[in-house]
């Protein structure tokens, strides 16, 4: 009797455990007998000939806003498939610098202060409105007055519609409007009707509403879950049979999860795979592995307003003491190259003529001695954004390296917002060292990286070294002024400015990162464009492999 009850109890428990593992919540279908749900429909798909061609992508990018004027973050990965600029910058090494999008041709006056763009005719927005000069003026006026990246247009006095398909930019200073108009942020052309509607209702865009001219329209959006794109039948660029009708994006924040989805065939493309697993794809004949230069670099700022970092010799010593190769190995698993100043390789006005520091601990010690700090004896407080795993990985190497000089480093990982607040406060109370991941807003790292990070203004923008060097300021001003009229002279000025920066060691220039893409051979047409770092895939370029 007792034994029977035991048996019964065990049986009940066992069946419960089994049902929980296998189908606790699915009593009618023991999971063990069913194929994984993710596999089944994928296998059935080719059987239905009328089915639209669907591209499935797992993407990490969040949507912080669907407002094309305000957008200044990761949502560009999606919006760049929906909205277009006047022009697009081609990858470095292309025959032409630009691809015309909504503009067909453009020119500037001799000193680069008046620019005229001739627009493409017959283009309509997704909401049916015509794309014309008035629409361009309205969009760009909104972008430069209230946009997320409004500052890129700082030199624009006015934008006028000359006729229905001609737009003229009047500038207060010479500037490369062709580059600025190709910016990923603050340069999309939006339907005027939608802009009016958005002005009346601040939540107008919230649920994935869009009104661009791009090849895809947003069909539906479920926050944190998925976005469905459909091709825009009337796209001015036209359609070929094998382009994708539908693009299904799943928002998947975890890189490892993305890898599993890719390997199981649940998705066609992913945007993020754990770095330590790249090796398995490099050798796999089913995938193509791309390792490309990127828009991003890692820099460190020295607080130059107080001792001992106000002394250039100390900063030079600290620059010599950095084990650059180790930092690249540990920080990004070797996927980077040591920087030459604050401009990432491949981006204007990068130049191989800019000097670098190489690791030399003896020289560092000697310089410290010359500066009156023999054997170190001071301590520094270093901050970095806790969200960034790369900083987290390499920051301890800086501490170790400086310990050899007798310099004690306290590392503080804090939320970027907090780090930023502290750095923007009084420099006298701010950190000694600030690590930063930086990228230019558009493809001009002269007027962005160099100006933003090291040009002295009373209230610093990104100049968190608080570095104040009039000679550098003059050189940058001159270089910016020459960008359009005499690029070679402009670059020479930039190089001079960067060498001054390196000589004075206003900051640490760690490395430019490389972008890695792992593309299954079942997809064709992928082309990496470093100028649009937040857009991993332009859906229009992609096709299933034949």
């Amino acid at each position: 009797m007792k034994r029977f009850t035991l048996f019964l109890s065990l049986l009940v428990a066992l069946s419960l455990v089994l049902s929980a593992c296998g189908g606790g919540a699915a009593p009618e279908a023991p999971a063990a007998e069913e194929p994984a749900a993710t596999d089944a429909p994928a296998a059935e798909e080719p059987a239905a000939p009328a089915a639209p061609s669907v591209l499935k992508i797992a993407n990490t990018a969040n949507i912080t806003t669907w407002d094309p004027i305000a957008s200044f973050s990761t949502e560009a990965a999606y919006m760049a498939n929906v909205y277009e600029q006047l022009l697009k910058v081609n990858p470095p090494g292309s025959a032409e610098q630009f691809t015309p999008l909504l503009a067909e041709s453009w020119e500037s006056n001799e000193d680069g202060t008046v620019w005229t763009f001739n627009l493409r005719s017959g283009v309509t927005f997704h909401d049916g409105e015509p794309m014309n000069a008035d629409a361009v003026v309205k969009s760009l006026d909104a972008a430069r007055t209230s946009g997320g990246a409004s500052f890129i247009w700082w030199m624009v006095d006015s934008i006028e519609a000359v006729d229905d398909l001609t737009v003229q930019f009047n500038l207060s200073a010479s500037a490369p409007i062709d580059l600025i108009a190709s910016s990923l942020y603050g340069a999309w052309i939006v339907s005027p009707k939608a802009l009016d509607a958005a002005a009346a209702d601040e939540n107008y865009w919230a649920n994935g509403v869009e009104a661009g001219t791009g090849p895809y329209v947003i069909e539906s959006y479920i926050p944190d879950q998925e976005i469905v794109f459909q091709k825009f039948e009337n796209y001015w660029g036209g359609w070929e049979d094998d382009q994708y009708d539908t693009v299904l994006v799943q928002i998947v924040p975890e890189a490892l999860t993305q890898q599993q989805l890719l390997e199981s065939g649940s998705v066609d493309l992913v945007t993020s795979i754990p770095r330590e697993n790249y090796g398995s794809f490099k050798d796999n004949p089913d995938y193509t592995y791309y390792e490309e230069p990127s828009f991003f670099n890692y820099v460190g700022f020295f607080n130059t307003t107080r001792a001992p970092l106000d002394n250039a010799k100390v900063r030079q010593a600290l620059s010599y003491a950095i084990p650059y190769d180790d930092i690249i190995q540990i920080g990004v698993k070797g996927l980077g190259t040591q920087s030459r100043g604050p401009v990432p390789a491949g981006v204007w006005p990068w130049s191989p003529d800019v000097n670098q520091y190489t690791y030399d601990i003896d020289k560092a010690k000697e310089l410290l001695k010359e500066a009156g700090y023999e054997g170190g004896g001071f301590s520094l407080r270093l901050t970095y954004a806790a969200e960034n795993a790369t900083h987290e990985a390499y920051a301890p190497l800086i501490k170790d390296a400086y310990a050899e000089l007798g310099v004690d480093v306290t590392i503080e990982a804090i939320a970027f917002g907090q780090q930023w607040e502290e750095a923007k406060g009084d420099p006298a109370n701010a950190q000694d060292m600030f690590l930063l991941l930086y990228w230019p807003t558009y493809s001009d790292a002269g007027s962005d990286n160099l100006w933003s990070m090291f040009y002295y203004t009373e209230k610093p923008f990104f100049n968190l070294s608080y570095w104040n060097n009039p000679e550098f300021n003059t050189l940058v001003d001159e270089a910016i002024g020459l960008t359009v009229t005499d690029p070679a002279a402009s670059q020479a000025k930039y190089v001079e400015a960067m060498n001054l920066l390196v000589e004075e060691a206003a900051g640490l220039f760690f490395f430019d990162t490389k972008a890695v893409f792992i593309i299954p051979n079942s997809i064709e047409g992928f082309q990496y464009n470093l100028n649009y770092p937040f857009v991993q895939y332009f859906f229009y370029d992609l096709r299933p492999a034949k």
């Binding site: 009850t5 606790g24 200044f72 944190d224 879950q225």
Partner: protein
């Protein structure tokens, strides 16, 4: 007699409701001021790091951050009373909308998890008590210890590796297969996918939704299973010592009847409290589970809000969590007083 008992119940519920309101008011004050004391500038968070001063000033005005703190609190409270939690900094959408969009996913997971937890935890506890000191007891105690101590993120990943990668039985992430929209789209009614597909007799989607629920629900249930099993075991042991059980045995009533019918009924009350509390606990437990399984609920949203210092969203979620806790406690108290009259209504 019956009427007074009912009155006392009502009075009890009313009193508990009032104290709950005070608790929530306190939570709102604390979260509001903590969010304002944190050394971050909401306007610069809103505008992003590259914003210029003019833009920051414009946003400060838009968000009402240029007004004095008490005024800001008054505005916040008056909006709160109208059911408006403000806009999220990181998504720029109303927080009430963010919550209502995601709540069904979280609740679905929560209910499934608690269902699994009770379904497994209670019988395990009974089994363990029934065979105290014997093999089943040892096994159950081991299971409870493992369940209570294994971190959700570890268990979740482990289950993914086994059931998705190795066995290929269960899906990896999400609530529904991405292809379902083409194969057999679910009509939204309640936004509980299981319920919606059941109501619309969409069996394909139902099966898929249930398959997607298994791993996250089990991961979420692991901790409550351990806790419930141990609690049930302890109270069962106590009850099985009672005189009336011995009397029942003396009458020759079958062991199984005694255990499952007489003893369990009297042992369930303290377990009910534990279940209620773990329910509230599991609400926060869903956060980990949602991250691992990319489950589009409140957990994913809250994690992102925390990382972005999206303080209106954090405040909204804290308030929601506190309300959930208070509500569940209230329900447990009321149910308990109803199940077990010995529980004092004072």
């Amino acid at each position: 007699m019956r009427a007074t008992s009912l009155m006392r119940h009502l009075e009890f519920i009313l009193r508990r409701l009032l104290t709950s309101l005070f608790v929530l008011l306190g939570v709102s004050i604390i979260t509001f001021f903590i969010a304002r004391v944190v050394p971050t500038d909401a306007a610069s968070l809103y505008a992003g790091p590259k914003a210029r001063p003019e833009e920051l000033a414009r946003i400060r005005e838009k968000l009402g951050l240029d007004k004095p703190l008490p005024t800001q609190y008054a505005i916040y409270m008056s909006e709160l009373l109208q059911g408006d939690l403000g806009n999220s900094i990181s998504t720029k959408r109303p927080i009430t909308q963010e919550i209502s969009d995601r709540l069904p996913a979280t609740l679905e997971l929560l209910f499934a998890g608690m269902f699994v937890a009770m379904l497994i935890g209670v019988p395990l506890g009974v089994l363990s008590a029934r065979w105290q000191g014997k093999l089943p007891d040892l096994v159950v105690r081991l299971i409870s210890i493992v369940g209570v101590s294994m971190p959700a993120f570890f268990l979740g990943l482990l289950l993914q590796i086994i059931f998705f990668r190795n066995l290929e039985w269960l899906p990896l992430i999400g609530r529904l297969d991405a292809n379902m929209r083409f194969v057999s789209p679910v009509t939204e009614i309640t936004r509980f996918i299981v319920l919606d597909s059941l109501l619309t007799r969409n069996w394909v989607a139902l099966k898929d939704a249930l398959l997607h629920l298994i791993l996250p629900a089990f991961t979420l249930a692991a901790y409550p299973i351990g806790l419930i099993a141990r609690m049930t075991r302890a109270t069962m042991l106590e009850v099985l010592e009672q005189d009336y059980i011995r009397t029942a045995r003396a009458y020759g009533i079958r062991d199984s009847v005694i255990t499952y019918l007489y003893a369990l009924k009297n042992a369930i009350s303290p377990t009910l409290t534990v279940i209620g509390l773990t329910f509230a606990f599991a609400l926060t437990g869903t956060f980990f589970v949602e991250i691992i399984f990319t489950w589009p609920g409140l957990g994913l949203f809250t994690t992102r809000s925390l990382l972005n210092l999206d303080y209106p969203a954090i405040m909204g979620m804290t308030l929601l969590g506190a309300s959930g806790y208070v509500l569940i406690n209230l329900i447990v108290d009321v149910v308990q007083s109803w199940v077990d009259p010995r529980v004092s209504l004072n």
